[in-house]
């Protein structure tokens, strides 16, 4: 990685020509050099490994689609994939149920309260992954608060070791991805439209359903797709809160890699998961412009807090 030292020594702004724009397209600027270290790092850690795994999965140099066909015919992968999709849908529903009202109220409170609500939604995002999952184990296990609470009603609900518990724990940390696109979508809706509707005699429910909901739909779709997509790739939560009998796609991927050492099959499955993810994210991005939201989620706490 000899390129790394260039990061600190190459100087950013070149001696500036009088014009800062217009000339950019004709002559390549030395600014491209500043991208080299970052691209090199990404190349070593992500792009090159992805390429290698992909080539392996198609059996380079002589091409074959066998590893991909096996995914459909081995009887396991598809079942696990379906279970993963079901779980992701459950996560999305939970996140939407909490996220929509939450984002709505965020648009209706003062700036100070809004900052508080934003920080609260980001708390799970900031807390250590392992600490969070450990906490969920404590809460969901037999004899834990959820189980004891259900016994008050004569039930015996244990959400530890099944998909429901996994979904609850996933939704908690994915909520920012629902709330932030929704917040920006709902914030842009002119509330006077609702007042106008009320003034013309519509009930609050009709006003909401006919006016507010259609206007918020882009943000809703973006949030739904984003949460759904991100839950497809979760590994730690299902590994700790779920069971091997009900494993999700990420666990299958890990198992094929480290236990079965089936690098060709794992590579093929990894590519499928990656393509599904990128397609869905690009779609969400087209609708609601939210990929940057992921970065913003992380850094927003610093910008929003006033």
């Amino acid at each position: 990685m000899a390129t790394l030292d260039t990061a600190s020594t190459t100087s950013p702004p070149t001696r500036h020509p009088a014009r800062t724009d217009g000339a950019t397209r004709r002559t390549p600027k030395p600014h491209w050099l500043l991208l080299v270290p970052a691209l090199a790092l990404l190349g070593v850690v992500l792009l090159l490994p992805l390429a290698q795994s992909f080539l392996r999965s198609v059996g380079a140099p002589d091409l074959t689609d066998e590893n991909y066909r096996t995914l459909f015919t081995d009887g396991v992968t598809m079942r696990v994939l379906l279970r993963t999709v079901r779980t992701a849908l459950l996560v999305t529903v939970i996140a939407f149920a909490f996220g929509y009202p939450y984002a709505y109220v965020m648009t209706r409170v003062g700036p100070r309260m809004r900052a508080v609500l934003l920080v609260i939604v980001l708390v799970p995002f900031w807390t250590s992954v392992m600490a969070r999952n450990f906490a969920w184990i404590l809460i969901l296990q037999r004899g834990g608060p959820v189980n004891e609470f259900s016994k008050l009603f004569g039930l015996d609900v244990v959400l530890y070791g099944n998909v429901s518990g996994v979904a609850i724990a996933m939704s908690q940390v994915l909520l920012p991805f629902m709330v932030l696109p929704l917040f920006s979508a709902l914030g842009g809706i002119d509330r006077r439209l609702l007042l106008a509707a009320r003034g013309l005699g519509s009930s609050p429910v009709v006003a909401f359903w006919k006016i507010y909901w259609p206007l918020s739909r882009a943000g809703v779709t973006a949030g739904l797709i984003l949460v759904f997509t991100l839950s497809l790739g979760f590994y730690v939560t299902p590994a700790l809160l779920g069971t091997p009998q009900e494993s999700l796609i990420a666990q299958l991927l890990a198992q094929r890699t480290t236990q079965l050492l089936d690098f060709e099959g794992a590579g093929a499955l990894g590519m499928v998961v990656l393509v599904i993810t990128l397609v869905l994210v690009a779609w969400a991005n087209r609708i609601g412009g939210t990929v940057s939201a992921i970065g913003v989620v992380a850094t927003s706490g610093t910008k929003e807090a006033r």
Partner: protein, 283 residues
């Protein structure tokens, strides 16, 4: 887009009779309730680990029994936990430094570039944020095995730096968006070399973006567990991996003490940019 005259009987219509001082457009109480429940759902689970960390029990049983500092004592006396902590800290420090250097350079470079190719470059640099962690972990593991980087310090640092870099890119880019490039020309016309211009003019103005990015890169690395699980070796593992072991193989309640320590530490670290931000703003 007109409101229909449909007269649907609405459930939560407020009584028309008495005008209360509340506005016609107030947030209804049941929504406040939903938000309160949501807030609890976000915050409460994490707080569970704190009482657990003072338990004297040797299992994960809840509620905690007794009151002792036994678990903290375990953590601070067990070489396995301490070594993992040290590894995590050093890896995060080096990875965050690396991520900050390359991420800041890339952000400055992209700030001056326009056009389709630059947009593509930005997208490529951001791609690791939307790539599922497990996919990164698997392909990195397969390639790093070949390159003998699995279980090595360098392997951890490279992988974690690549994960943290997009956060640096985002935060420095947003800091640069408020940066007036006339200053660069002013500086150059006064005879400063580009490097001097960067260190004397650009850096101070975007320092908050750089610090924020660096903090996030550090936390990202310190907390990363999926890739770390694949890269671990008997001789080198990080704290989250040890926490994972303690839940899966060992049933070691020391994780409760570790969790509450990590949660407190990360909270403090995350508050630093917040406080820096608010101090600047409250001029």
């Amino acid at each position: 887009m007109t409101a229909t005259e449909l007269d649907v009987p609405a459930a939560p219509a407020p009584p028309r009779a008495r005008r209360r001082s509340r506005g016609v457009d107030a947030v209804p109480w049941w929504l406040r309730l939903v938000v309160a429940a949501g807030a609890l759902y976000f915050v409460l689970p994490t707080l569970f680990v704190i009482p657990m960390s003072f338990s004297s029990s040797t299992t994960f049983s809840f509620p905690p029994e007794g009151f002792s500092l036994q678990l903290y004592r375990n953590f601070f006396t067990d070489p396995v936990w301490l070594t993992s902590l040290r590894n995590s800290f050093v890896v995060a420090l080096v990875a965050a430094t690396l991520a900050t250097l390359v991420g800041t350079a890339a952000a400055v470079g992209l700030h001056h570039l326009t056009g389709r190719l630059a947009r593509l470059a930005r997208t490529v640099l951001m791609i690791s944020i939307v790539t599922p962690g497990i996919v990164i972990a698997v392909v990195v593991y397969i390639s790093f095995l070949k390159w003998h980087l699995v279980g090595s310090f360098a392997g951890y640092v490279l992988a974690h730096a690549a994960l943290g870099m997009p956060f640096v890119l985002v935060s420095v880019t947003s800091a640069l968006s408020g940066f007036d490039s006339k200053l660069l020309r002013a500086s150059a016309s006064l005879g400063a070399t580009p490097l001097r211009t960067f260190t004397r003019v650009t850096m101070p103005l975007i320092s908050r973006g750089i610090v924020t990015g660096a903090v996030f890169a550090f936390v990202t690395s310190f907390d990363e567990v999926v890739i770390a699980l694949f890269l671990r070796s008997p001789t080198f593992q990080t704290l989250p991996v040890q926490m994972f072991n303690s839940v899966t193989f060992e049933v070691d309640p020391t994780i409760a003490a570790t969790s509450s320590l990590v949660v407190s530490a990360v909270t403090v670290v995350c508050l630093v940019p917040l406080l820096l931000g608010s101090r600047r703003k409250n001029r």
